[in-house]
């Protein structure tokens, strides 16, 4: 097991995860576990997954993005995938993983805006 880990930062009511460089399978699995724990512990309302530093993806990574999104959603926190590079987007689509339910944004700022809008909708829905 490597000691490598991906930092999960808390920004107000959201969590920010910045993925950079190569992402191997064990690191991805570890991130998934840690992120879900953090969502539970910090009562986060949303997760921003910044992958702007990622130049390549494989099918494992593509599926992981979608599983993380589904898992956090049932834990009451929406995940927004932020800053996907064109080449990565094309690869994912070519692999036939169009990640239908996933929320996306161009940069972190827009991601936060999107999450805030989602949460506002939720509040007004209750009120």
């Amino acid at each position: 097991m490597t000691s490598e880990r991906i930092p999960i930062l808390k920004m107000g009511e959201f969590l920010l995860v910045t993925i950079q460089g190569e992402m191997h399978d064990s690191l991805a699995t570890r991130l998934q576990t840690e992120l879900l724990e953090k969502v539970a512990n910090s009562d986060a309302r949303g997760v921003l997954l910044d992958i702007s530093g990622l130049d390549m993806v494989d099918s494992f990574m593509g599926r992981m993005l979608s599983t993380i999104a589904s898992m956090t959603r049932i834990m009451d926190a929406n995940t927004v995938v932020v800053g996907m590079q064109p080449a990565v987007a094309i690869t994912i689509v070519e692999m036939g993983l169009s990640l239908p339910g996933i929320l996306t944004a161009m940069d972190v700022e827009r991601g936060i805006e999107l999450l805030k809008n989602k949460n506002r909708g939720r509040l007004s829905g209750h009120g």
Binding site: V81, V82, G83, M84, Q85, P86, V88, A89, I90, I92, V93, E94, S98, L99, I102, T104, A105, M106, D107, R110, G111
Partner: protein
């Protein structure tokens, strides 16, 4: 004179005539065809003979080149890649070498030649040299390069990316979309989204006459890829024929925003971005300043 001796002499005479004719024929071939450079090389590539065609193509006279290595006609880049000796080795191994490339003339200008090199061997199969034929194909090559360049220009011209409004880009596509072009459209669209930071893209296909399955699917993939990057695509200007094709092909456009015209698409894009254009009722001066 005995009969056999007479016959022999006649034969010798015939052979002499034949040799004479052969040499005239060779002379004609070598110097009559002035658009072909024909010359011989030693096994190591030193120029042995030089004809008029070679002189016209390369501008060097026989006295300039005889005894010199033929690599002097090659560009620096080709020399560094050891191209001249590679061509001779190939010719010696395979029995001939055919190729084309830029060569340098005496005045430093370049000429595109198509070459054929054949090895010359003696009865024992020992390599004695090479025969090289070169043809000036500069015009042909220039035409080819021009066509290539125009193809690129055409793609460049036919796929502009317009920054339409704050946060909105537009790609009006004119002309037939084939798979090469639709790939270029995808690349341009996605990279424009990143570089401009725009989140809405309007793809206007009112100038596209027909769409086939491959292109339609490609279009859908582009829209998916844009969505993954956090942007939204609106397709505008779908012609009746294209609408028919799309539906007959079973392409699902229900999740894609489609608008009849660019202006409606812009309206939609602005409402997505929560932008509104307000009709300004405040009177203005002649210079456009508000009173």
């Amino acid at each position: 004179m005995t009969e056999p001796a007479k016959g022999k002499q006649e034969l010798a005479g015939q052979e002499q005539v034949k040799a004479e004719l052969d040499s005239q024929f060779m002379e004609f071939l070598l110097n009559g065809l002035s658009d072909l450079g024909i010359y011989m090389l030693s096994p190591t590539g030193l120029v042995q003979t030089w004809n008029r065609g070679a002189e016209i193509i390369k501008q060097y006279t026989a006295s300039d080149v005889i005894g010199k290595n033929f690599s002097m006609f090659y560009t620096e880049a080709d020399k560094q890649k050891n191209f001249p000796s590679f061509e001779l080795e190939e010719a010696a191994r395979k029995g001939k070498f055919e190729g084309a490339g830029w060569r340098v003339r005496k005045d430093g200008s370049r000429v595109w030649v198509e070459v054929l090199i054949a090895p010359l061997k003696d009865k024992n199969g020992e390599l004695k040299g090479f025969c090289k034929v070169a043809r000036d194909a500069t015009e042909k090559q220039k035409t080819l390069e021009l066509v290539e360049q125009q193809k690129k220009d055409l793609i460049e011209l036919s796929t502009p990316v317009i920054h339409l409004w704050q946060g909105i880009i537009a790609l009006p596509i004119v002309g037939t979309l084939d798979s090469t072009r639709s790939r270029i459209v995808t690349e341009r669209l996605l990279s424009a989204l990143v570089s401009s930071g725009c989140t809405v893209a309007i793809v206007d296909i009112s100038g596209v006459p027909t769409v086939d399955t491959v292109v339609a699917q490609h279009l859908m993939k582009t829209i998916d890829a844009a969505r993954l990057m956090g942007a939204e695509c609106i397709i505008s200007g779908i012609r009746p024929e294209i609408a028919q094709t799309m539906v007959h092909l079973g392409i699902d456009l229900s999740k894609v925003k489609t608008k009849s015209s660019m202006s409606r698409a812009l309206e939609e894009a602005m409402s997505t971005l929560r932008l509104r254009v307000i009709h300004d009722t405040v009177p203005k001066t002649e210079h456009g300043e508000r009173l």
